[in-house]
């Protein structure tokens, strides 16, 4: 099974990278860009695990390892089922 987990800073938390990328894009003339937020994506392959178990494990590892719940939030989806 393949899942994708998106981790990004909570909306209220400053995102210096995203800001800097936005400014760079403006300098290059892309004026239509109003906001940029940068985050991380994890693509994970799971094996020998039921969909039910995955539904439990994926949020668990996201919360515990992949994201820092103090400043980040996450969302996830299944990309490929077994």
């Amino acid at each position: 099974m393949k899942v994708r987990i998106l981790v990004s800073l909570k909306d209220s938390v400053l995102d210096p990278q995203g800001q800097t990328v936005k400014n760079a894009l403006h300098t290059l003339g892309y004026d239509s860009i109003k906001d940029v937020r940068q985050g991380k994506v994890f693509e994970i392959e799971l094996e020998g695990i039921s969909e039910e178990d995955a539904e439990r494990v994926v949020p668990e590892i996201s919360d515990k390892v992949l994201a820092n719940p103090i400043i980040e939030k996450f969302s996830w989806q299944i990309l490929e089922k077994d």
């Binding site: 210096p16 990278q17 800097t20």
Partner: protein, 229 residues
């Protein structure tokens, strides 16, 4: 010989490089501001180390779009000498003046330490005062210095003798341990095909005085001075 040291927002080895050139080596050297479109008749451009634009997005990526970089690209294509040190090397890669890309160090940590470098190619303007096989002791300080390029590119690099410096031990032997950041082919310094644009991760300006622990870095600058005559 007149050197121009470029300042990007976030450059932090700009003063160090100017100091090594002017105060230690007694050369003419000036700053070039990234927003200008003017190389002020310098004979050689140095892109210094640091964290241009915070190294946000990718190391060196945003600086590559600076107005002055267009001038520098033209200058390089006409054969002008360009040296990229650390972040400067990363900028040259992003600008595609040099082949390849940098990945995060193999231990995923910032590394600041002295390393040994084996001179692989002594025929370049940047190493003409060194001997082939000579071992230099110069520090590194970077997060993303793990050189990577696709197989056909690395083949070409080797065929054209573009590897200038390799991480080695103090005896000049290559090993996994000596290759601290995990670079492909232990590459620490790389030159373009035309032989006028070099990038190197180690900081020669930090090894230009005995007080700082080594003078080996002077060889790089002195080679350039000699080359220009």
């Amino acid at each position: 010989m007149k050197f121009g040291v470029v300042i990007f927002p976030g450059s932090n080895c700009d003063y160090d490089t100017l100091y090594a050139l002017k105060d230690v080596l007694q050369q003419k050297a000036i700053f070039l501001w990234h927003k200008e479109h003017n190389l002020k008749n310098v004979d050689c451009v140095i892109l210094p180390g640091g964290f241009s634009y915070g190294d946000y997005l990718r190391s060196g990526s945003i600086a590559a779009f600076s107005p002055l970089m267009q001038e520098i690209k033209e200058f390089a294509l006409k054969g002008g000498l360009v040296l990229g040190i650390c972040n400067g090397f990363q900028v040259l890669l992003e600008l595609e003046l040099l082949p390849g890309a940098m990945l995060r160090n193999k231990n995923l940590k910032f590394l600041c330490q002295f390393v040994h470098l084996r001179v692989e190619n002594e025929t370049t303007p940047f190493t003409s005062r060194a001997k082939k096989g000579q071992v230099l002791r110069i520090p590194i300080a970077h997060y993303d210095g793990n050189f990577f390029s696709p197989p056909d590119t690395i083949q070409e690099i080797k065929t054209n003798n573009q590897i200038v410096l390799r991480y080695s031990d103090d005896q000049g032997q290559l090993s996994e341990d000596a290759n601290v950041n995990g670079s492909l082919e232990s590459i620490a310094g790389l030159i373009n095909k035309a032989g006028n644009v070099m990038g190197m991760m180690p900081h020669p300006e930090r090894a230009s005085e005995t007080l700082l622990g080594s003078e080996d870095g002077r060889i790089i600058f002195e080679s350039m001075i000699k080359w220009k005559g």
